[in-house]
């Protein structure tokens, strides 16, 4: 028997794993990928809830999450190019001029 709990647990695990990725990876692009993964775990939650509640709203929200993710990805990657142009690197350990 598969309940919504199973799906949400998978989503939670996915969320935690992507958090781990955000915390450990040093390549800004990979970190950004992990953030996309985070949004995907949210999508999974929404879709499973949509089924669980027999309700369309969850799926609608997924659409918007995806659109927002796409917009964010476009801007984010452009930012990384801008950063790379200045610093010749997108290693987050090099994001360190602003501190203290």
């Amino acid at each position: 028997m598969i309940s919504v709990y199973h799906y949400m647990s998978v989503a939670a695990i996915l969320f935690a794993m992507s958090t781990y990725g955000v915390l450990t990876r040093r390549n800004a692009i990979v970190i950004f990928m992990c953030i996309e993964l985070m949004l995907n775990s949210v999508n999974l939650t929404f879709i499973s809830l949509s089924s669980h509640l027999q309700n369309i709203d969850g799926q609608i929200f997924v659409f918007f999450v995806m659109a927002v993710a796409a917009a964010e990805a476009a801007v984010g990657l452009a930012l990384m190019i801008a950063f790379y142009r200045n610093r010749e690197s997108i290693d987050v350990d090099n994001i360190n001029m602003l501190k203290w």
């Binding site: 987050v92 350990d93 360190n96 001029m97 501190k99």
Partner: protein, 663 residues
Amino acid sequence: MYDKLWLIPFFPLVGSIINGLLGKRFIKNEKIIGAIGTGAIFLSFLVSCKFFYQLVNDSVKIHETVVASWMSVGNLQVDWGFLLDPLSAVMLMVVCGVGSLIHLYSIGYMHGEEGFYRFFCYMNLFAFSMLMLVLGNNALVMFVGWEGVGLCSYLLIGYYFEKQSAGDAAKKAFVMNRVGDFGFLLGLFTIFWTLGSKHGVWTINFVEISEKAHLLSGDMILGAGVTTVATLCFFLGATGKSAQLPLFTWLPDAMEGPTPVSALIHAATMVTAGVYMIGRMNVLFAMSPTTMMVVAVVGALTAIFAATIGFAQNDIKRVLAYSTVSQLGFMFVAMGVGAFTAGIFHLMTHAFFKACLFLGSGSVIHAMHHALHHAHLSDDAQDMRNMGGLRKKMPITWATFGISCLAISGLPFFSGFFSKDEILWWTFASTRGSKVVWVIVVVAAFMTAFYMFRCLYMTFYGEQKTNPKAKDHVHESPWVITLPLVVLAGLATVGGFVGIPHVIDVAHIGNKLDQFLAPVFHHSQQLHNIEAHGTASTEIILMIFSVVVALVGIGVATMMYLKNPDMPAKFTAKFSKLHRWVFNKWYVDEAYDVLFVNTTKKLGIFCWRGFDVNVIDGIVNGLAKLIGAISTALRHTQTGQFHNYALTMVFGTVVMLAIFILN
């Protein structure tokens, strides 16, 4: 009738704005700037006089006028409102009167200083804030003034920015005043909240608080009476503003500011705000004998403590500063024993003679400074060891300074005599008084007489110890400086007659001040049975005793510091037998010197260096360091690294979720 009250703070505000905005670029001329600044406060003085006169002849003594509604938050309505009652009227006269004189004096004293316009801008702004503090009919308007005077005080202490010490002093004053403000706000909120939540009276209006204060009598908070807690908080606020133990060390350091500032802010007006505040809330204070006791004890300890330190100072302004702290202690004793009128009375007379003393010292410093400057010397212009014998060079300054010394020592019929005597009498005889406190205060009075005359002798008598090159360049100051001195000395002489004690009131003039202030204070005094009771003979005996104490203090100082070189020689020639006596006297003197003076000096130095510098400053600096350390530590969490930031976020999340689960 009283709806033009707003004019009083309005003039200085306008003066401040004009000088601040136009002073540097457009007016430039010192005379005009000075005239605007002085004129503004003098106009306020004239208006104050008018209202004072009106109030004296009015049968109703408490008047509130609302200029505009400020805000209404929920059930709380706060107005830009002014309150004119005898208490604020007296304060008005002091602030505007003494303030006008000091502004006038500043024209001469600050002549040629860079930022002349800035000085007058700040001074007028200060006067404005102080008048708001005095006139406010609710705690919020008072707080506007309370913060404003603090702000001006820092600005003026740090007036000589280029001096590191000035900046440090401003910082210190700031920290201690903040502690005080914290107390004030806590007290205010305690009263406000209890009155509101328990009794449905949401108000911060002084008149309403006074009317409803009786409701609070049974309320408890933190295991103590609400009034006790709140008034203790208020008193903490007062200790910060009025430089009482343990928050007094900023005041001597505040002498880094120009002398007129010391006279106006750090002697006559702002530092007495704490006393005024207690007077304004006397109904609340009277409800809590515990707080009153604390106030009296702290005041007495401050009085004696600061006096002790006064012994060891050689800087003329620092002597006066410690003397101010000590005299403020007297005022707090008065408030603490329920002698509210006496406290305000002393506040007033102190404003006269202490302003005169400060301005006199300023006149001396001014002269010394010019002389030293003329001779290209870098000696300390404020060190009394470089002075001496200035009596002939600066006769007016000498005379006025001497009169003020007599007044502060409490010699009969000078103003200080009446006010100090009333405080001593109440301390001795009041139902809230205490004999122990009385003893301490008497000793402090003795010390006051001693070190003030020491200061007088070291400055004006004996041989002139100024560097010979500069000696002859010391001259009397111009009229703008001496005129205020003369007026203030006059006030210091006769100002006491407004409060003649009943027992020596031969001409049946009556204690005018007491009668005038009665509408403010008598109610709470009667309600809580605060009165001084004792026979007339006791009072007279005590009065004579205190005069004797003052005379002894002066005598000791005369013996020790008035060393006229001619006298011993004449004595030896005419009365050779006496010579030995005089000679022996010298032995006594020296023995005395070793036994007494050195000990007290050491005590003074110990108190100053040991307690003042190490303990209090230690605590303040420690606090500052602790805060600094916390902020540095926090700053280093700011590594700039993305991972650390993300980690903190996730960590915060986990902690939050853990809290949810545990709940």
